[in-house]
């Protein structure tokens, strides 16, 4: 049966890939056609090849690299500090109900505040330099990571802990074989939400105050009516965010795999 259905499977898979690709290809063709026939003014939509050329030129003279590196550095610094604090605080409120009772409501109110609304206050406190950007990204990451960590630890099945206790596992083994695999998926879930929030806040902060960075490029493109520049920066930002998200997923699989081995 399996041998017989294999070509059929292949055809079905091909059909699936085709429908999956259909709309992006259609959109690209539509985009190209609209601009080629000049059906829309060039200020509204630039031809796709122009975006490609702009990206290549900026890559060649290092402008794109400089902006991407500046943005990446900010995201990584903010993400690392926000995630570290979030995991630590989430663990504390998960293991101490008393702390949760006292700090929970305040954290709950804190979490309601949109991350972008912290920007003006952060600027007042830290000035309009690098520190405030990293701090606001960190705040944006902190909230979902705390929630994810707390849920992860609360969600460890009691049975696992009982089995670990019955087997008298040493602490290291207990952490690696029981705690880590039980909590990692939800913690990584929180980290992924945090990362996407971090990118969002980064673009926000760079749009209004930065001398370098992908958001700054977008702003320059907007004020100079260079749509190719805006689109290049948007594409690179999306691509970097996507790549980092995939890396977190990898990390989760790697962590769970090692724990199971």
């Amino acid at each position: 049966m399996t041998t017989k259905s294999q070509p059929l499977d292949a055809v079905a898979r091909l059909g699936q890939v085709a429908t999956w690709l259909a709309s992006p290809v259609l959109l690209l063709v539509l985009w190209w056609w609209l601009t080629e026939r000049e059906l829309v003014p060039i200020q509204i939509l630039v031809p796709p090849h122009e975006v490609f050329e702009t990206a290549r030129a900026m890559l060649a003279d290092g402008e794109l690299e400089e902006a991407a590196l500046a943005s990446l550095f900010r995201v990584l610094a903010g993400f690392a500090s926000g995630a570290a604090c979030g995991v630590a605080f989430g663990t504390l409120v998960a293991v101490s109900p008393r702390l949760d009772r006292y700090a929970g409501p305040l954290f709950y109110a804190f979490a309601q505040m949109p991350a972008v609304a912290w920007a003006p206050i952060a600027i007042l406190l830290l000035g309009i330099g690098e520190e405030f950007k990293v701090a606001v990204i960190g705040l944006a990451v902190f909230v979902p990571v705390t929630i994810g960590t707390q849920e992860a630890i609360r969600g460890i099945p009691q049975r696992y802990l009982e089995v670990a206790a019955a087997l008298a596992l040493p602490a290291g083994l207990r952490f690696r074989r029981v705690l880590l695999p039980a909590t990692l998926p939800r913690i990584v879930g929180g980290l992924r939400i945090g990362l996407s929030k971090g990118w969002m806040v980064l673009v926000f902060a760079e749009l209004f105050c930065a001398n370098v960075g992908l958001g700054h490029l977008m702003d320059v493109g907007r004020t100079q009516f260079q749509m190719d520049l805006v689109l290049t920066a948007v594409l690179v930002t999306g691509g970097l965010g996507f790549a980092m998200d995939r890396m977190l997923l990898r990390f989760e699989r790697f962590g769970s795999g090692r724990a199971a081995a």
Partner: protein, 250 residues
């Protein structure tokens, strides 16, 4: 359905209420102290409270308009994608690709296309809301149990009855949860849009303008208003959600 917030309302004890009230009072006193010390700087005529109230109304109006458009458009698109497989396969790839663009990356694009006026701001809020609603409506439709669908077919229910007894009860929890996430996204979008596309009244613009002319008391007071309104709207929606779920889903 997990509540998902540390110390969510179901964990509240009277002692934490006391704590919350005490910390709010302290915070308010601090803000009032700062404000009073700078009151001579306040705009003559309207006063600080009046200014903040007017800005709040502007922001709320913008948020509601964006929520209305975004929830309607997003739910319709998500429902269509959930109900028609071919639409799903055609639209999912571009939608997931667009989701990779950080939300505020749309602001320069919308700015190029439509300027920085009122329609652009509402469009941006609607976009942020629609993102969320497409996904949750899609999920909601797919959460309808296929067994119940078969039963309703076997019973030969007419479309209206089917809608009433099968579809609406099945999709409501996921949709309500989606609306709550969309509300948070909408708050973030409306404040961000007001900061980035200034030149309009609103809380974000007020806070931002106050920062630029060096009036920290307005920055702090405006931010507190944003936080409190966000928390209140979320809590209101949550209690509505729980009432609905409690009444119809036991």
């Amino acid at each position: 359905m997990s509540v998902g917030v540390v110390g969510g309302p179901h964990h509240f004890k009277w002692r934490s209420y006391l704590w919350l009230v005490a910390s709010t009072i302290v915070l308010t006193i601090v803000i009032a102290e700062i404000s009073v010390s700078q009151v001579s700087l306040a705009v003559p005529g309207r006063g600080l409270i009046g200014e903040i109230a007017a800005a709040t109304l502007d922001t709320l109006r913008r948020l509601l308009a964006g929520l209305f458009v975004g929830i309607t458009a997003g739910s319709l698109l998500g429902t269509a994608m959930g109900a028609v497989p071919i639409l799903d396969r055609l639209l999912s790839p571009p939608i997931h690709a667009l989701r990779q663009v950080p939300l505020f990356g749309w602001i320069p694009l919308i700015g190029l296309w439509a300027g920085l006026g009122e329609p652009s701001k509402v469009t941006f809020v609607a976009l942020a809301v629609a993102y969320v609603m497409v996904l949750s409506a899609h999920e909601a439709i797919r959460s309808i149990s296929p067994r119940l669908t078969e039963v309703s077919r076997a019973l030969g229910l007419d479309p209206l009855t089917k809608l009433r007894v099968l579809v609406i009860p099945s999709v409501t929890p996921a949709l309500l949860a989606g609306v709550r996430i969309a509300l948070a996204a909408g708050w973030s979008a409306v404040v961000g849009a007001e900061i980035l596309m200034a030149a309009a009244p609103g809380l974000g613009a007020l806070i931002w303008g106050a920062r630029e002319v060096g009036r920290p008391e307005i920055v702090v007071a405006g931010s507190v208003v944003v936080g409190v309104l966000g928390a209140l709207s979320n809590a209101g929606l949550r209690s509505f959600e729980q009432r609905v779920l409690h009444r119809y889903y036991r």
